[in-house]
Structures are given as structure tokens and as C-alpha cells.
Amino acid sequence: MGETRGGKRWNFGANEVVELSCSQNVRYFLNLLADNLDRSDSRPVIPLGHGDPSPFPSYRTDPSAVEAVCDALRSAQFNHYSTTSGLPIARKAVAEYLSRGLTYQICPNDVHLTAGCHHAIDVLMSTLAVPGANILLPRPSYPMYDSRAAFSQLEIRRYDLLPENGWEVDLDAVEALADEKTAAILVINPCNPCGNVFSRQHLQKIAETASKLGVLVIADEVYKDITFGETPFVSMAEFADIVPVMLLGSISKRWCVPGWRFGWMATLDPHNIMKDSGLVHSLANVLNMSTDPTTFIQGAIPDILEKTKEEFFSSVLETLRECSESCYEEIKKIPCITCPYKPEASMFTMVKLELSVLEDIKDDLEFCCKLAKEESLIILPGRSVGLKNWLRITFAVEPELLKDGLSRLNKFAQRHSKKKQQP
């Protein structure tokens, strides 16, 4: 029970489960690094630690999307409470959007609109949290899944993404980890934080493995269409016939509007497996009590999805391609850092620290703290996403800013490298 000054005894206090599940997520590390910044450094801080390019001019959203929202708002038709799962016109528009390139049409009733993909994760974890259940998450991961799973008291089991194999899923590990209480496997494709895209063959193997194990696939495709390399993106939706798929996505990345809080989850379940197990019913119950995306954004969705011009998307992709190339090339010049796989998607790349060539730095956290202090450069320590002694670098910023940042990284690395032995 809580105590307070004056000796008065109060009967309420904190929820310990919340405390445990929130330790050390991305925000925690970003705050920690910000605390290390040297205020007397006159140079601007270069933020290569988080994943939101929307403030930068090259990533400013398409004006037609803005006008679509303004129109919806001014119509005064969208100020009311939303229906559970979203307005029918918005669900239909998202279903059509997701069905592009598929051999089948996703049904609007299978599409549930959420306040961003984070909300979808929130709802999904709540829905799957049957007592004793466990979930398979990748390492490295997107830590919101970890926090949210812990909060719902789902046991987390981790499988590795293999850097030597282009960050593919270690399917042997998946089979070894799963048991009769495993509910689902999370697959993030294109990958945050590794920046790779899974091949069609590999996705099929994942689907077949999941099917064999009797687990559903959570396909987080929030970076769908944010690809700029050789590997074409293939949606897990194509394998819904093999295994039930819970497809997650949003407009946040493609339109650079994470602040608009609009995402979705689609239950792809042609054999009614999720329905028969009661999962769909449970999902409806959770959604019924949960918040919704802003109604006027929903009202604008048909126009946003259908009318945004290709030029906007290609312009953003071009900037990302340029940045990813630049990042990869610059990293090659830095001896204490290796990038095992050239990024071809998302906004991030994972690079390994060679601590043995560094003088006075013992791990990734110390590296990043000192980097913040000495160079006003923020890069995320790999431990925040599950890989100690790696780094996650965000390249989705203005190209000039990225070059500047990587140059500071290079200087820092040189300064801290072990001096060569005198002959």
C-alpha cells in the first residue's frame, strides 16, 4: 500500500506490471542519450536514433493528403464517434489498397482500423493474451512489441534474425522454441531495424513453418512500399492460404505522417481458423472497448489512398535510396563498424561494433553515450532492440545532415581507436 507524508495511509499505488514492461524501451534510451549531450556544443544535434523523418523538408507529406483531411473536417460529417473497427468507407478503401497486387480481394469486414500501428499492436497483444500463452518475437526487434507483450503478460520467446544470411529468420530456432502454448510468430517485413526485405521463398518457408507449428503469423508490413533495393516486396498476405495471417500496417511511413495516427489490422483467414478458434470474436470485444482513429482522418482515407500522386512517393523513395547508399558507403570507411547487409528498405540499418579496435569503450551503450557527448550525434545502442554491441542507425534524414552525422561518427571512431604499435 502507498504511504505518504504526514503519516496518512492511502490505499492506492502503482501497477507493478506496467513498471516491469516499460523498462528500457527506445524512448528510455533516447532520453538517456539526450541527457548526455553537451549543452555548450554549438553544433546542431544530429538525430540518427529515432524513426520519424516527417519534420524534414524532403519528407514533408503530400499537400493533397493534407487537403483531403481539411475537406473531411470542413464537411462536418466526421465529428462523430466511429463505429467499432472504423467507418465502412475507410475500411473499404483500406481493403482495396491492401488487395492491390494480390490474387484475391481482402474483405472490408476483415479490416479493422486503429489509431496507428501502435494501437494495432496494443489490441493484438491484449487479444492473444490467454493465460500461459507465449509469442515468438525476432531479435533484433521493434521493442514496442516486447513492451506490450510483457504488459499483457504474454511470455516472450526470441528467435534470431541471422546477419550472415541477410537477416533471414532462423527457422530451426523457431521450431525449437515453439510449443503447444505458442500463439503467434511476429515477422516484420520490410525489417525494422535491419533494413532488409525477405524473399518470396523465405516468406513461404516462414508460412509453412508457422502452419506446421499451429501458430498464426503477425505480419508487420508498416514499411511496405518503403523499398529501394533489388529485392521486391512480397506481402505475407499471399500466403494466407497456408497459415492465418494478421496483417498490420499504417499510412505513417509511406505518407510520412506518424502523427496522424491511422493504421490497420487485417485478419486474413480463408479457412476460418482464426474465426473458429474464437480469436476474431475476442478481437471484436477488445476493439469495442478501445479507442479509434480520428473520425475525420478516416473520412479522408479514400482520397488519401487513391489520389496521392506517384511523384510524391518516388521523390521520398529517391531521398531514402540516396541516404541508404550514402550511409552504407560511409560506414565502410569506419574500421570499428561493419554493416553486414546493405539496407534496401525501411529507415534503418544495423551495424556491428568491433570493440577490440576501440580504446576506452566497453560496450554499445558507452559508445552511444560518449558519441552524444562528444559529437552531438544520436545513434541508438543495439541493446535497445535486443542486440548488444551493435548500433541502429537511422538514415532517414536530409542527405546533407546524414553526411555530416556520419562524418562526425568517423571522427569519433578515429579518436577512440587503439593506436597502432610503434615499429
Binding site: 466511429s82 503447444e180 506518424p258 496522424w260 480520428t294
Partner: protein
Amino acid sequence: MSEEEAHANLAVPAFRTEKVAKTQTQNGHGTVWRFGGADKAAKAATVTLRGVIYMLFDNCSKDVKKTILPLGHGDPSVYPCFRTCIEAEDAVVNVLRSGKSNSYCPGAGILPARRAVADYLNRDLPNKLTPDDIFLTAGCNQGIELVFESLARPNANILLPRPGFPHYDARAVYSGLEIRKFDLLPDREWEIDLEGVEAVADENTVAIVVINPNNPCGNVYSHDHLHKVAETARKLGIMVITDEVYDQTIFGDNPFVPMAKFASIVPVLTLGGISKGWVVPGWKIGWIALNDPEGVFESTKVVQSIKQSLDITPDPSTIIQAALPEILEKVDKNFFAKKNKILKHNVDLVCDRLKDIPCVVCPKKPESCTYLLTKLELSLLDDIKDDIDFCVKLAREENLVFLPGEALGLKNWMRITIGVEAHMLEDALERLKGFCTRHTKKTVTETESPSSV
């Protein structure tokens, strides 16, 4: 727009099945599928209004050649007469076009928005709030979710009013908080039964929820009564969670007194938002304000719990957060006055018509919120056994939907939504009158005492 079109925007709830979640099913190939759905969501869902409302809509029919009048649940925002003020719309459009509303926000909300809420609330408060005391939520309902999750611990119980707002019940069940009810007393203008509160509270009680102005009763609590509530809560060692979302929807004589005025007696957690005041529930923004000059929330770590929950729960859109300062500062008082005048007029209209309908009685005119509670005099009716039966038959015969009080914990009462266009209420009361006349017990012979009717 036509009436039908307006109604089309009203959220009609998703159908609730009775199916229980299984944890394993087999498909034809012998695979055992290992996932199922969480039970607690199902349990929570049974206490929402949606099931009842849907059932009543189901009883309406095209054969009754009258438009459906949905006066069982409420969302005034679909009716043109309640359209929000132009200043609020302008604020949002300005923010959208500025390009400054596209980024992620911190979990607690952006500072200008938190500051604006603190300023808005501080106008009426002796103990001033700082922006740090304010947390933004994705709607007031999400605020309830967050607070209950933050307070949940083994064996904890929470005191909820009866009649009440069923979302509280649903979220309490979902968070594993035991619910204990206290009554609002109809013959004391819906004041809280404080003796009842003391009787049900124990060492595991964490909070009492007070809704003021009150949904569904429509009363506004007096300064004295709230003072007594604060002292009772202090005596019991519990916080007061006060839901003040109707603070700008008042049309009677009693002034609104924020519970935070008594924060030096007991820690007060205030839930609020713009959804009802500005008639924009679809904009999905609300707030939690911690009124706590003694620092109790800090020392009991409730603040920490709330902040951590905010990091992993959905956020309000940056658009509305960025627009909030302008919305709160620039509102034209005339907008509230106009809205509240319509509601007052609707209340007067309904009460006037009810004079001719003896079996439906409104003992106390509401002076806030958007509902009117009536008591059913079932003894005057022939073949109607309770409020649910009344409402089902009313829906079936007249395509008129009112909410049976049972859904709010008040058996044999009935709730009428008055946040609608006036002509809908005229029509509704006509139909109600017809229905009641048809179902009234006939007097038997001249020798029967007239007072038996």
C-alpha cells in the same frame, strides 16, 4: 441532410455473439491451432450498452412505416444544430496546413497542449496545475482505460456509481478491478449515498468515481456535497476520480464546481476532454489532470504508472494536440450558450409532453448532459413487465428506441436522449403517447374508484 442520413452516422454497435473463445481448434489437416482469444475481453464486453442498443434496433422494422428514432444512445455531433464552432475547425485546418502536425509526440502529449489544458482548468482552481500535471489521452474513454490499468493490482476494488456510465464497468472488469457500487439517490436529486460508500469500502478500495455533471442523471453537484465526498474519500484513504467531461454542457441554475477545489483534502484525478463541450467525440482527445498539492500521487507512484502506461498505449493525433491551445483559448462563449439553450429547450419540451403521459414520469429535470431519466409507472400498464419489455415493445410497435434503465443499473427507469433535433423529440413523444395509451390498463366499471387509475 435528411434525418436518415444523419442517423446513418450514428455509431450502431457491432453485433455481439454469445460464442465463447476456445483455445485450440483443429483444421482438416490435423493441425492443432494454438491460439485463442482472451476471456477477459468477453467478460468486459457483456457490460457495455452496445448489446442492448443493438437488440432494440433489431426489434425495429420496415413494416412500421415510421423512421427509426434512435434516442437510446447519444451522439449529438451528427445533427447540424450541434455542429462545432468554426474557431475549432479553423484551428485544426491551420495546424494541418502548417505541416507541424505530422510527427510522433511524446507519450504524455506535447507541451503546448498540456500547458493549454492546465490554463483552461486553472481558471476555476485555487491550486494551480502545471503542464506536468496534465496527460493527454486518445479520448476520455481511453483516459479511463489508462487510469484503471495504472491502478490495477491484486484484490483491488473500485467504487462506481449506480446509475452509471457502463464503460467504467467494462474497463474495471477488463483490468481485473473488483467493482463495488454506491447509489445515486433519486429522491435527493441524485446525490451520492455517502453512507453506502462507507459501507462498501474496505482496505482494498483504491478509488471512488464521481461523474459531475452527471451522466446519465443530468444533475450538477453542489459545493457542499462535493466537499462531503472529498472528506469521505479522505477518511477511507481513497482517491477521487472525477469525470467532468460535461463541464460545458450545463443549462440549469446550479454552477459547476470542479472536484479539484477539494484537492487539499483528497487527491483528485480529473478526467476531461473537448468531446462533449465542443461536440467533437470523433476528434479523440481527452486529458487526465492530477490535482494533488500534497504530492500523494507521486509518493504512491501512481504518476509513474500513468507515465509508463502512456508510453505503451495509443496516443491522440498530433493534429488535435497541436490545435488544442487555439481550440481552448479561442472558443466563443456564445457557442456553448447556443448549444445549451437547445438542450434546455429539448428538456422543457419533453417534460411538457410527459405531463400527458402518466406512466412515464420525470421526477427531476436534468440541468446538464444530454439525457433525461424517467421512471416507469408499470402499475398503470397492462401487459408490460419491466423496462426492457417496455423498450422492446416500443421499438417493435413504434420504431422508437429509448434505453431501458436496467442497462445503467436502474431497473424500471428509462433514459431518453435529448441531444437531438427538437422535431425528433416532438415525433418521439407523440409515438410514446400513442404507445402508452394503447397499453394503459382500462378502468373496469363505474364503481371502481377513479384514483385506481
